[in-house]
Symmetry: C2
């Protein structure tokens, strides 16, 4: 991928996977803005989802990676924000489809449910797959 | 579960699974409001997610089941609505966690990615698991 700025955030249950994926993004040539959390102490996942959504809403960074334990809470919170289309992914195929069909701009992964190796493959696919457009653009436009 | 009204909706890629889950909900004693789609013809998933969210927003029915091909588009669209906490689930454990920790009121399943037998087990778990409250209530309150 071309040099891209990517924002990443996680709660405590996603912290370890965030560290792994931050390195992976950097090895892919991305510049990473890390919003935390920065340790295993318990925090509230919506705080981190909202902070990531705010960065994307401001428009300087267009894509992100968001993590919590299951990915469910983070994906609910992030999709409250109109600038965000957050896709909870569990495998490379869902990461691919979320780009092809949904033009997702945030990939959500569960730190307690997805292995680091699978998660790394997911973000490589997510950041290298283009939106298909066409009939899918009409549908995406309805998610306002 | 006690007699409960449940709203269900799907796009064409979730239509077959919707029919299966509608029967399963009825066998669980639920009264089901079916918002369609009612056949395999292509439709736009946000239309059905938005219709389901509107029913829940009105407050007469508090919980729902929503389907598309991957579940990703439907979950993005549904979570745009503040009355909805839509959990994309792939297995019984995610369905359980979405109730315990996120107080999800809509379960989203992917008609092209989740077997009918797994989907049926997911909704049985979803509709029989209570929210844990406590620190999770504070986090849920932040998803406004």
């Amino acid at each position: 991928m071309t040099k891209e700025r990517v924002v990443i955030a996680a709660d405590h249950a996603g912290f370890d996977l965030k560290e792994t994926l931050k390195q992976e993004l950097q090895s892919m040539g991305a510049e990473v803005m890390d919003l935390g959390t920065n340790g295993p102490e318990a925090v509230d996942y919506p705080d981190f989802a909202n902070a990531l959504a705010d960065v994307i809403g401001e428009g300087q960074i267009t894509r992100g990676v968001l993590l919590c334990g299951s990915g469910i809470g983070a994906s609910i919170a992030a999709n409250r924000h109109r600038a965000v289309r957050a896709a909870l992914c569990h495998d490379v195929e869902s990461a691919r489809m979320s780009r092809l069909h949904n033009d997702a701009n945030v990939i959500v992964l569960g730190g307690r449910v997805t292995d680091a190796s699978v998660a790394k493959a997911c973000i490589r696919t997510f950041f290298s797959t283009e939106f298909e457009g066409g009939r899918h653009a009409r549908r995406v436009a309805k998610m306002t």
